[in-house]
């Protein structure tokens, strides 16, 4: 028999232990690969979108008026390489972008990089500018002039300036932040899986200690045993990681399409790249995690040499906790915020089992009842011996608490916000050629509409807030409406002046969304200078409103306040027809605008679709975190069961001393439930703190908007019940061992169960 065979004989004798370790590696790999795969898909999708909407420079007139062909000619005469970009509505629907292929020649692109005007972007095909120009004769279109060399700003003729030009929404910062969140979730999951794998592995090692000692007595060098252990775990890892990765990818792909839709809903843009990520990264990562988790003891002397100490002191861990908490309050940078989260988690993980053991020991000292004293001492032993799976469970519980609170808060907030934004039953797009005035007159003259219906017009466009570092100003969305009525007046506002809607109706000021208020420090009551069309107008800020999910800042203004030269990007009517049928409204509008078809959106259907998409996201998020929790619970269950087996004799001793098996089982239940209950209690503040970090720190820094901080005691209760169930399961599994008369006391010390 070879040495390897002798070593491996342990698993031949205890195949369930091998199965447990293999299962844990497979599940851990599946979980992390799932998260990694989803993150990779999101990253690939965002990269794809980013390259498509990469920011370029355009030339605009300083007076804010539209660019014309004359401007193009003047700039070309000045020797500047500019390319006209003419965006119009397509007769078949959608948008067309006309570009000049000759002028595009000066935009030299590396062969590997596709120019943004090639192919298709966001459903808009690119055509020769002459085709687009034909359409401009029939409808309004917007001419932009892209400049190839941003460095030529010095050569710009008077009256012109450079401005950023984007062909899509600004997803850069938002995307990065979102990916950072996903990465953070991945790291947390990786940490939990590492703890789980290590806890199951150490269990087997504890039981093999006698075999190692025997080999040592037989003269086998320790280094040789260690090498064989590395080979053993390497082989096991390779065998288990591959199916784990396959399962993880299957999980992510299964959930991915819904996730992609959710991303699209969040960012208003197609972001899902389909297949993302590869096999190599999860394989290498999980291999490293399994090796480090299982063989960390070999690395410990090296770590000691590096840090120059043998023990970590409780004081330094406490200091790390306090520093992490303090950092989480003060830092304004996402990376440092994640460092703070890591510090708090590591410190909490080190402190939690020690704290339970310390409290149990203190209770034991003060207990006059010897049975209670014994039970508390046993609790202390268990907390120390099951530290790793306990900490994994604590982290998983904290993560579930935080994610559940976040998702539930978001669900409620999103529903309310969606209801606000889609308050009208129908949304009718105003055609490019449509004259709005007679339509508005007709709507205002309908008695049924006045009695039972609601409507307002919506104008969307862009404005500029002067200033900024490059002095080109900041573009913001304009949301103009009128008349200001019940479709908007019950919107939730973060802060406002008295009677803000009345003020808006009377054109006394504007409202700003939360993103604009946060990024530019805009406060209610202050005056905000906005460049609308060619005019710079100063508006008092009447209120700040929530606007979840929108990357950009937005101002809400009464449509009557827009200057005549304001460039209308888009116009629509929001109508709840009441007793009037929507067909009557659309028939009349078609007659007024003399068009055959109108684009009419049923907002209820959109609301249902959006809700369904978000529900899927929430479901996915909950599923991933719950899966992590289940994995942690299973690990504790396995560890608890096996470790309790090593203590089985001492519970059986109670039976020998005359307690009934039922009484001994009751002691066991009290003990295991106390253990899992204690860790759930310690997970609670960690979870609440993590919720606060996500809601009040990460979200505002990353996304520019915040969710209301809410706690959900029913989740705490659910988690408490779950922890009790885990404790009960351990006790029930263990109680079976009490029934067996063959439990031998000689095994107890050999299994290192004689701790106190």
């Amino acid at each position: 028999m070879t040495l390897l065979a002798a070593l491996f004989s342990h698993y031949r004798r205890h195949p369930l232990q091998l199965l447990a370790l293999a299962t844990m590696i497979v599940l851990a790999t599946m979980l992390w690969t799932g998260v990694y795969h989803l993150t990779s898909q999101a990253r690939a999708s965002l990269d794809q979108s980013e390259s498509a909407v990469a920011e370029r420079q355009q030339v605009t007139r300083e007076d804010g008026t539209r660019m014309t062909v004359a401007d193009f000619v003047e700039l070309r005469r000045a020797g500047l390489c500019v390319m006209p970009w003419l965006e119009v509505s397509s007769p078949e629907g959608g948008r067309l972008v006309g570009v000049d292929p000759l002028a595009a020649g000066c935009f030299e692109q590396p062969a590997s990089e596709e120019a943004p005007w090639q192919g298709e972007l966001d459903g808009r095909p690119f055509v020769d500018i002459s085709e687009a120009a034909e359409l401009v004769r029939e409808q309004a279109g917007q001419l932009s002039l892209l400049i190839s060399d941003a460095g030529s700003i010095g050569g710009l003729p008077a009256g012109y300036r450079l401005a950023p030009f984007r062909v899509g929404p600004d997803t850069g910062e938002l995307g990065d932040s979102f990916l950072l969140n996903l990465d953070a979730l991945g790291v947390l999951v990786l940490l939990i899986t590492a703890l789980l794998v290590r806890s199951v592995y150490l269990l087997g090692m504890a039981q093999r200690r006698d075999s190692f000692a025997l080999l040592h007595r037989f003269g086998v060098p320790q280094s040789r045993v260690n090498r064989l252990l590395v080979v053993e775990i390497l082989l096991l890892a390779l065998v288990c990681i591959v199916p784990g990765i396959w399962l993880g990818r299957w999980l992510a792909t299964g959930l991915g399409s819904g996730f992609g839709q959710a991303l699209e809903g969040l960012f208003d843009q197609s972001l899902y790249a389909g297949q993302g990520g590869n096999w190599l990264v999860p394989l290498a990562t999980m291999l490293a995690v399994v090796l480090v988790a299982c063989l960390a003891d070999f690395l410990r002397p090296l770590a000691r040499r590096l840090v120059g100490g043998n023990r970590r002191s409780g004081g330094s861990v406490l200091l790390m906790l306090v520093a992490g908490l303090a950092l989480s309050v003060w830092v304004m940078d996402l990376l440092w915020l994640f460092v703070a989260v890591a510090m708090v988690f590591v410190a909490a993980g080190i402190l939690a089992p020690g704290l339970i053991a310390w409290l149990a020991d203190r209770r034991a000292e003060s207990d006059r009842d010897l049975q209670a004293r014994w039970r508390h001492r046993e609790l202390s032993v268990l907390a120390r011996r099951l530290a790793l799976p306990l900490v994994a469970l604590q982290f998983a519980m904290a993560m579930v608490l935080a994610v559940q609170a976040l998702v539930t808060t978001f669900e409620g907030t999103f529903d309310r916000w969606l209801a606000q934004r889609l308050e009208a039953d129908f949304y009718i797009e105003v055609p490019e050629t449509g004259d709005l005035a007679p339509a508005l007159d007709w709507l205002a003259a309908q008695p049924e509409l006045a009695a039972s219906g609601l409507w307002h017009r919506v104008i969307r466009g862009r404005a500029t807030l002067p200033g900024g570092e490059d002095r080109t100003g900041t573009n913001v969305d304009v949301f103009a409406l009128g008349p200001v009525g019940p479709l908007v007046t019950d919107w939730q506002l973060f802060e406002s002046t008295p009677q803000p809607w009345q003020g808006l109706q009377q054109g006394e000021g504007v409202m700003v969304n939360e993103q604009l208020a946060r990024r530019h420090g805009v406060r209610v009551g202050q005056n905000l200078t906005v460049v609308l069309g060619g005019q710079s107008i100063e508006f008092p800020v009447l209120a700040v409103y929530p606007d979840y999910g929108r990357p950009a800042g937005e101002i809400l203004v009464n449509a009557s306040m827009l200057p005549p030269d304001f460039t209308i990007g888009f116009q629509s009517l929001s109508v709840s027809p009441g007793n009037l049928s929507i067909d009557t409204v659309t028939d009349e509008l078609r007659r007024i605008w003399q068009v055959e078809e109108l684009t009419v959106r049923d907002n209820r259907a959109i609301k249902e679709l959006a809700s369904a998409i978000f529900d899927q996201t929430f479901l996915l998020t909950r599923a991933m975190t719950t899966l992590t929790l289940i994995l942690a619970a299973i690990a504790l269950l396995m560890m608890g069961w096996v470790f309790f087996s090593t203590r089985a004799w001492y519970f059986r001793l109670l039976v020998v001393w005359g307690l009934s098996r039922r009484q001994a089982s009751a002691q066991l239940i009290r003990l295991s439930v106390a253990l899992t209950g204690a860790i759930a209690l310690l997970a609670l503040p960690l979870g609440i703190w993590l919720t606060w970090v996500l809601v009040h720190r990460i979200n505002p820094i990353a996304f520019g908007w915040s969710l209301p901080m809410a706690v959900y005691p029913e989740f705490w209760l659910e988690l408490g019940v779950l922890s009790l169930l885990i404790g009960l399961c351990i006790a029930l599994l263990m109680s079976r061992q009490l029934k067996s008369p063959t439990v031998a006391p000689v095994n107890a010390n050999a299994l290192a169960g004689g701790d106190r």
Binding site: R373, Y650, L653, V656, G658, R661, P741, P745, V746, R756
Partner: protein, 227 residues
């Protein structure tokens, strides 16, 4: 007439090893009176521990009758298991002391707390617990935990636990099996001395012929003969 502490008649026990039945003992009978000591000997696997377990209700015989300290357990008269277990539990808690080869103490309790715990379960006073440790020569170790004392000291503490409960019957399964000869001599000397002084019955399972010879009677389970 001396009262009988324990009588067993027609005890049968067999195990299964794989698919093969293994007969441990068949039609075994024994009797123990107050103040008597009986040695159980026999090779490993002859059923010494199994018999002790049956005599204190930790295992059930396949057939047979056990009368112990006024309670009768007859395999022909099946009772509600919980009721039987409760009767055995009462006996073990208050009147039957069991000593194993090792691991007789709760590792998380000090020696004194172990003795007090056992006395409390038996309904005895805790005041004498320190005295019992003193009498067994380990009084100064009362606050130590089991892993902080030697094997011999742990077995002495186990004896202190048994005597603190004031048992009528002591069942000892290789109580000195893990001790060196000198320590074993000292521990077993104390066991016999205290058993004689308190007049309780003793059944001792052992491999050691010299130790068996110190008991009043001897039952060899290997040959099932009593001397």
């Amino acid at each position: 007439m001396v009262d009988s502490l324990l009588r067993a008649r027609g005890l049968n026990k067999q195990f299964r090893s794989g698919n093969e039945p293994v007969q441990v003992f068949r039609d075994l009978s024994l009797r123990l009176d107050e103040g008597d000591s009986l040695a159980l000997t026999g090779r490993s696997g002859s059923g010494k521990s199994t018999l002790l377990n049956i005599l204190c209700g930790l295992e059930k015989p396949d057939a047979g009758l056990v009368e112990v300290l006024g309670e009768t357990f007859d395999s022909r008269k099946p009772e509600v298991p919980a009721k039987n277990e409760a009767r055995w539990g009462n006996l073990r808690r208050q009147r039957i002391g069991v000593v194993f080869q090792e691991a007789n103490l709760m590792p998380a309790l000090s020696l004194l707390d172990n003795v007090r715990f056992r006395a409390r379960l038996a309904g005895q006073s805790e005041e004498e617990c320190q005295d019992w440790l003193e009498r067994l020569g380990i009084g100064e170790l009362a606050d130590r935990f089991p892993d902080q004392v030697s094997g011999g000291q742990r077995q002495r503490a186990a004896l202190a636990m048994v005597f603190a409960m004031k048992p009528a019957l002591i069942l000892a399964d290789e109580p000195t099996g893990s001790l060196d000869r000198q320590t074993a001599e000292a521990v077993i000397g104390q066991l016999f001395e205290l058993q004689a002084r308190h007049g309780c019955g003793l059944i001792l399972a052992t491999h050691d012929p010299e130790l068996a010879a110190r008991c009043g009677r001897h039952l060899d389970l290997g040959h099932l003969s009593e001397t």
